[in-house]
């Protein structure tokens, strides 16, 4: 019995030592996240590099520390609805409206837009190049049996894509030509390029990745393809643990003139055209919805 006791004590001692090591680590880092703001956002804002430019400015200005969690809009809103995020930067208007109607958010403000584009292999086997209506182009892709690569992750892009299928009355679920990656925009574009398929992408991510892709923009400019980003502050009444002041500060920052000016020129030097168009203060209707 003595033996077991000894072992047990050694175990306890070792475990305590381990906890001390971990504790030291926590103490060392405690200085930084005092006023952390959890920003749940879409992959497109991170993959384009926009947040890498904006967040350091915000942190310097306000002293908040931003924890950017880049997921799809669907997951971002799920995090907001559980009070696990303080502020959302998302692009899935219909789902956002439901989010607000359910009382999960306090204020929802328009930040910027760009647009979705239908991209595909330059050879364009379905022959949709230059078509004016996204719904018609989708019908033609379906009719030709060419493979369409979907995000399949409930992101803003995926939701938009479903809208277009539905608007065109196309049956897509379970069809042989309809494939899903379940990945972010960048990776889905890469898969699409590799397999020479069609896909729906936001222009920002497409432009940022264009050089390695070999996919062409085939359809653009249709009203249904508008891609609008909003910031939503998570409801502090529902989730008292959320950092509401921090979230609000970030939302204010996103719609401030300084930030909007940065958004206006972001990407011009690198890609020749802006990736996003600032819209703060405008009404959604003014964008032509």
């Amino acid at each position: 019995m003595k033996f077991k006791k000894n072992m047990f004590l050694t175990g306890i001692a070792l475990a305590t030592a381990a906890l001390l090591v971990a504790g030291g680590f926590t103490a060392a880092e405690a200085a930084k996240p005092q006023k952390a703001v959890i920003l749940a956002t879409t992959t497109s804002t991170q993959d384009t590099g926009l947040l890498d430019v904006l967040i350091p400015i915000f942190e310097k200005k306000t002293g908040y520390f931003v924890k950017t969690i880049a997921v799809g809009s669907g997951q971002a809103m799920a995090m907001g609805a559980k009070g696990e995020a303080d502020i959302l930067l998302v692009h899935s208007p219909a789902a956002e409206k439901k989010f607000m109607a359910d009382g999960n958010g306090v204020e929802r403000r328009l930040v910027m837009h760009n647009d979705f584009i239908i991209v595909g292999p330059p050879a364009d086997p379905a022959g949709i190049r230059g078509m004016k209506k996204a719904t018609e182009a989708f019908k033609k892709i379906a009719g030709s049996g060419s493979i369409f690569m979907s995000r399949g992750d409930r992101s803003g892009t995926h939701v938009k894509e479903i809208d277009i299928w539905k608007a065109g009355g196309v049956k897509y679920e379970g069809e042989k030509w309809y494939q899903q990656t379940g990945l972010g925009m960048g990776q889905t574009l890469a898969v699409s390029a590799e397999k020479k398929t069609y896909t729906l992408a936001d222009r920002g991510t497409y432009l940022a990745l264009k050089k390695n892709l070999g996919l062409d923009i085939l359809v653009e400019g249709d009203g249904i393809l508008l891609n609008i980003y909003h910031v939503i502050e998570v409801n502090p009444k529902k989730w008292p643990k959320a950092n509401f002041p921090g979230g609000k500060a970030f939302a204010d920052f996103m719609v401030s003139k300084e930030t909007q000016d940065i958004i206006k020129t972001f990407g011009v030097d690198k890609y020749g055209s802006p990736l996003f168009f600032p819209d703060a203060g405008k009404k959604e209707e003014a964008l032509g919805l």
């Binding site: 175990g11 070792l14 880092e29 952390a36 925009m185 890469a190």
Partner: protein
């Protein structure tokens, strides 16, 4: 092929120009995975040794659970640690989700069964007579355990390497509980995933090469320690 060569070139540029971001990420990866491995050593080796040296009802079940744990998928660990650490979850009061501490916890959970399983096998495979002999020479139980650990050194160092290798290379848990926050919880693997999805394949390859390089260097040191004695 060009892209791989370009990646290798990038890796060397990033390393030898002491690119601050890359060095920071590399150092942080080593720190997180090193700490997690250390914790897993304490927990894994102590429990592994106890289980190896004792008899108790249900022992085989315990051993089979430990062995299954050696293959614990990092994403599963990541998911559960995330749910536990949510602000409104059972350990939300700790407020450590999306921090390095959360990553260390997740990685320790991944590495501990690996170290435990290998330690258990290492200690148990020592001849039973050795134990009796040590005790006959008048050693206390604790001294006996220490001698056994020394005897099993080769295999125990392999446990260290397996545990460290398991966590430095995992991405699923780190990205979920750490969030890949720039300058805070970004490690080499999560940075590689991000750069890949940004289409910066050259940088992604460079980061992978740096990861492999450091994993190799650490294992090289451990191997030297392990192989100090001449082969028997």
């Amino acid at each position: 092929m060009d892209i791989i060569l370009e990646g290798i070139r990038q890796a060397f540029i990033l390393l030898f120009t002491f690119d601050r971001e890359v060095l920071g990420v590399t150092w942080f990866s080593l720190k997180v995975s090193g700490t997690a491995t250390l914790i897993s050593l304490f927990l894994g080796m102590s429990v592994g040794t106890v289980v190896a040296l004792t008899q108790f009802p249900g022992r085989r079940i315990v051993v089979s659970l430990i062995n299954t744990g050696m293959g614990l998928p990092p994403v599963v660990v990541g998911l559960f640690v995330t749910i536990f650490l949510w602000r409104n979850g059972p350990f939300g009061f700790l407020e450590i989700l999306y921090t390095p501490s959360a990553m260390i916890i997740a990685q320790a959970v991944i590495a501990t069964p690996i170290v435990m399983g290998i330690s258990l096998a290492a200690i148990q495979q020592l001849p039973r007579k050795l134990r009796l002999q040590i005790l006959a020479l008048g050693a206390t139980r604790l001294q006996m355990v220490l001698v056994l650990i020394r005897e099993a050194k080769l295999a125990l160092l392999a446990a260290v390497m397996a545990g460290f290798g398991g966590v430095i290379s995992e991405v699923g848990a780190s990205i979920m509980v750490g969030g890949n926050i720039m300058g805070y919880t970004r490690v080499l693997t999560t940075a590689t995933v991000m750069e890949t999805s940004r289409g910066n394949f050259d940088i992604a390859i460079a980061l992978s090469i740096i990861l492999l390089l450091f994993a190799y260097l650490i294992n090289l040191v451990l191997t030297y320690v392990q192989q100090r004695e001449r082969p028997r």
